[in-house]
Symmetry: none
Subunit: 227 residues, 4 copies
Amino acid sequence: MPAKRRKAARRSEILAAAHQVFSAHAYEDASIGEIASRADCVEGTIYTYFRNKRELFDAVLADYYDRLIADIEPRLQAIRSTRDRLYFLVARHLQIAVDDPGVSRMIIREARGHRDYFGSKLHTLNRRYSQLLLRTLVDGIARGELRADLNTTMARDMLFGGIEHLVWNELGRNRRIDAAANAEQIVGMMMSGWAPHERAEPVSRADEIADLRERLERIESILTQRR
Amino acid sequence: MPAKRRKAARRSEILAAAHQVFSAHAYEDASIGEIASRADCVEGTIYTYFRNKRELFDAVLADYYDRLIADIEPRLQAIRSTRDRLYFLVARHLQIAVDDPGVSRMIIREARGHRDYFGSKLHTLNRRYSQLLLRTLVDGIARGELRADLNTTMARDMLFGGIEHLVWNELGRNRRIDAAANAEQIVGMMMSGWAPHERAEPVSRADEIADLRERLERIESILTQRR
Amino acid sequence: MPAKRRKAARRSEILAAAHQVFSAHAYEDASIGEIASRADCVEGTIYTYFRNKRELFDAVLADYYDRLIADIEPRLQAIRSTRDRLYFLVARHLQIAVDDPGVSRMIIREARGHRDYFGSKLHTLNRRYSQLLLRTLVDGIARGELRADLNTTMARDMLFGGIEHLVWNELGRNRRIDAAANAEQIVGMMMSGWAPHERAEPVSRADEIADLRERLERIESILTQRR
Amino acid sequence: MPAKRRKAARRSEILAAAHQVFSAHAYEDASIGEIASRADCVEGTIYTYFRNKRELFDAVLADYYDRLIADIEPRLQAIRSTRDRLYFLVARHLQIAVDDPGVSRMIIREARGHRDYFGSKLHTLNRRYSQLLLRTLVDGIARGELRADLNTTMARDMLFGGIEHLVWNELGRNRRIDAAANAEQIVGMMMSGWAPHERAEPVSRADEIADLRERLERIESILTQRR
DNA sequence: GATGAATGAGCTTTCATTCAT
DNA sequence: AATGAATGAAAGCTCATTCAT
């Protein structure tokens, strides 16, 4: 069916154009006119695909989150240790900011400060995404790999909020973010805290070896597979 | 000089009105008209005190930060231990969100997502404020109250970003924030980390371990070149 | 021929849908899109049956009037006395407003106020309909059942206009109209007039003179002062 | 104060322009742009005087009704007999259509057919105006100059509705309406009804009476040349 | 210094209509 | 005959900013 194919293609074109424009400008400063001209159609056409500006905006984000969650979920479950899962989630989250800083800005800017954010579609998507971390934390406690008295929601806030802040600062200074390295550091810092402590040692040679090998291989695989 | 007094008073009235309006609405949704009517003057008058809307906005925040820093700085220096200083800073930061959620929203919303935030007046103010934390961290390391290898800027990001996230979530759900209790928890979590405390120790070493560690550290040093 | 049958059926479906939509909304607020979706087809299809929106609108009314006149005409001729005929016409006219207030609104709204109503199809239909009354009046005079000097067109205006006004008021207040009762009253009022029946006679010459003089001066003053 | 003077003048200019445009086009077809250009200002200016299009429309009509009622009320009270009062009201009403057919169209078109007419400002104005007639009728019954069993609201509907219809027909045919002559006929018809009746005769006659009657009838015959 | 009327560019949204399939 | 995607013009409305008084 050529009409339907065309329609689906158009929708994607508009979505892509909207992605670009909303990435570049704040919601109110992004104009339908610019989106239309980038999608190579007239403003009216957009309204045959999306009821209004907000719905288009939401569709861009929904699209993004859907792909993100679909990418993360299966890979997350394949990872064993809590530390590695956290590393994966943090690195992936940072990677968003590297690959698509615009969408980070969209989310940061529109999620925050909007009177009616809570209950919005964006809020729902965000919750769905942050559940991935929350579940990892709860699971980690159950396995004994995290402190039993860890306040999970607060931990989630610290982690995501912290990353956001870090990303924002780095992007603002036009620095490239190294997702793997930063993730390693962030997880390290969160796991062991700021206080100097009587460092725990590996019990046996075997354990120490295994630990080092694991860290090493993780890093090496990242450095080679980097997209 | 009554004219000057009047002029200063007018400025303050406008600033106060702008504070209200910018607290309640996002920058683009806040209108000069509303600010004027709240300041009991006409729009034109505002332009005799501030060149344009942005400048007025900046003035509101500058005013706020100035008072904030003036309040914090002396009290911070009177506190001895690093932990107590951190507690004070976190609690004070949370208190802003309790006392004046509008200004939190202003900062969160306008600091983030603006193309030209970096280098802006708001950015400068923010840096000045966050220096208070950074200095506390550096000092803490020097005193041996914090780990020697703590990445201070990252720690700062995690703390401020995390608090922002937490505040945002709580405000959004219309929950009252207990600054003291939350500060205690946050500092506790950051100081001691997420991992269970008693860690197993490696007893001995061997060639294989030395080799792996060498490779590992080489790579990690590369990755750690973020400052 | 099934194609033709289908075509006729489609036309009726569209007409019925348009009837609904034009009943509910003013001409400009009625959208082809809504008509199409109610007729279970797409907008384009409508344009294969009707050249444009106006033509569709006219077709709806033509359809209505055709059925109305076909209903009234034979029954009217079966009635003998002028008074009964008037009663029948008034009651039937009121009944439209009861049964199908939407079409009343359509006619009232679109007949009036449109620059190009006169000469329009709607105008022609309306004339055809109002001829029924006009002929009844002329006939009534011929039979001696109405005053010989009755100005028939003016009488028609008063009757139809009056009914329209009455219907509008009642519908607006969401009152149900009792067609029979109102028809009885209206016809009664029109036949016998507003004046008390036993006409007061001028008692004296002086009174009669004063009366005439008054009427005279009033008219003269109007004729000279006319703006 | 020149600013205030200017402001008042501008308001009048805009009102006058709006009067013209709303007279010429139906509400939805009248554009703010045209009003603005006729008022020799930009669209934005209009919005400093009127909140929106509807409010401007209402203001035009309110202005009209205010002046109308102010004109009619005192003159009506100076007239003695019910018949003369009716004549005056009808003639004045017809005169509107002669002097300002546009406003007649506005009222007819917008009063009718609007979902939310009842309770609107226009409805209130209309009621205030039609009270003048209603009070005249009630008063006429009290004086014995109208039938005791007259249904006043129905009489009002017949009169105003009838006039509206008549005006509409005449205007549509581009005929000039003779207010005095038509008013005389309309009142005559409404007072005495359509049925032939036994007319009371003046008993005696005299020269003066004959003379007056002659003059009167000559004039009236001229006025009565409407068909 | 204060006023406040005027500006005018810019925005989102609607919808009758067309036309290639 | 039917589709339905695309059009594009036009509309109402907002608001930061200016400037003569």
